[in-house]
Amino acid sequence: MKGIVLTITVAVLLTSMIAPVMADPHASKTISFTISNGEERAIRLILGHTREPTLALAPGIHDGAHHVQIIIRDARTNLPINAAKLQLDRYYFKDLSAYESGDLSRATMQTGLPVERVFGIPGEYTVRQILTAPGIYGYRVYGTVTYFDGTTVNIDERKFCSPEGMSSTQGPYDTPGWGGGYGCADAVRDLHWPPMPAGVPGRASFDLLSDNLYTLLFGVIVTGSVAMIRLIRRK
């Protein structure tokens, strides 16, 4: 028994040691303001997704839960700032050509979403979401942050994810001054290696609207019918 426990412990330790550590990129921006005694202070607004790499929903394979993660900290001390009243607009472009059109009205968008504090994690805020499709996502965060002395800091910032090869660049809809970036949503199949041949059943799972769902439904109906006929014959 001791041997089993030891083996499991060693296995867990080895697994944790060799497990790949995924990058956790976020965009950040420093916002300066004047506090009540006339001195300059700054906060750091950090924006990204709760998990990287960001992958779109693939039923049965990946849940697509990549919540918006907003972290607000004092720039100099890195102390978390817990007093913020924020809202969020979110945008989605299906592909790069639509994104590069420079026309934000072409995006699928939702506005006025409430930003909630994350329980038990000071300075962290979120909007929960499940990303249902690969593509280019962006967020506008706006509202007020209250600094330690009660100074109100107005926030109105927008930052899109970084399409492949465009990390840390100023996007057409981003407010200026951002550094870094966060990942856009890829399809799970983009990570497959070697690539799965076309027509392999697994492909059905990559798209909610796939024809293969109908194939699956057809299969269930046929199997059910055969079972029903056998039951009737037995009686």
């Binding site: 009540s36 005694n37 202070r41 004092d74 001390t77 890195n78 102390l79 330690f148 002395d149 009660g150």
Partner: protein, 163 residues
């Protein structure tokens, strides 16, 4: 504690932390504040003392004088570490008492220093070098800034946290 003597209290390197400091120590009136505000005879400094002096930055800790818990020659102070409103080093890995006077300081029975750590806020890395901030313990003069919320002088209240 002899002139120039140093008593390290805490070292969290390579992490910088937030916390609360309590100091009870021999005290003297703050000049210009009458006799109702007192500062310690030793100086409390905080910041980061690195192997490289160019990544070393320490500063005097802003203290809040607690008159109603002080007695005789032994006074009590509180401090927020770090204090984003009243100054001091913004990122603290090290806390130290240092005698920057030219006289020995004799402590009283019951004098104490306590540092209660709240959170690790990050890894210090080369933060001070990157910010081009360098200040060594030898660059500092005696006397912490001291605030007093319990006298009639509003100019020494400092900035308080609003919850």
């Amino acid at each position: 504690m002899q002139p120039g003597a140093v008593l390290p209290i805490y070292d969290a390197s390579p992490n910088f932390v937030s916390g609360h400091l309590l100091l009870r120590a021999p005290c003297e009136p703050v000049e210009g504040e009458g006799d109702d505000t007192y500062r310690p005879l030793v100086t409390v400094i905080a910041g980061h003392i690195d192997e490289h002096e160019h990544n070393t930055y320490v500063d005097k800790v802003p203290l809040y004088y607690i008159r109603h818990a002080s007695s005789g020659d032994s006074c009590l102070w509180h401090a927020h570490i770090p204090d984003p409103l009243n100054g001091g080093a913004p990122r603290v890995t090290d806390l130290t008492l240092i005698n920057l006077t030219d006289q020995p300081v004799e402590f009283n029975g019951g004098d104490i220093v306590v540092f209660n750590v709240f959170n690790v806020l990050g890894t210090i890395g080369n933060y001070y070098a990157q910010q081009d901030m360098m200040q060594l313990p030898t660059d500092i003069e005696h006397g912490n800034p001291v605030y007093n919320l319990n006298d009639e002088d509003d100019s020494n209240d400092g900035l308080g946290f609003i919850e």
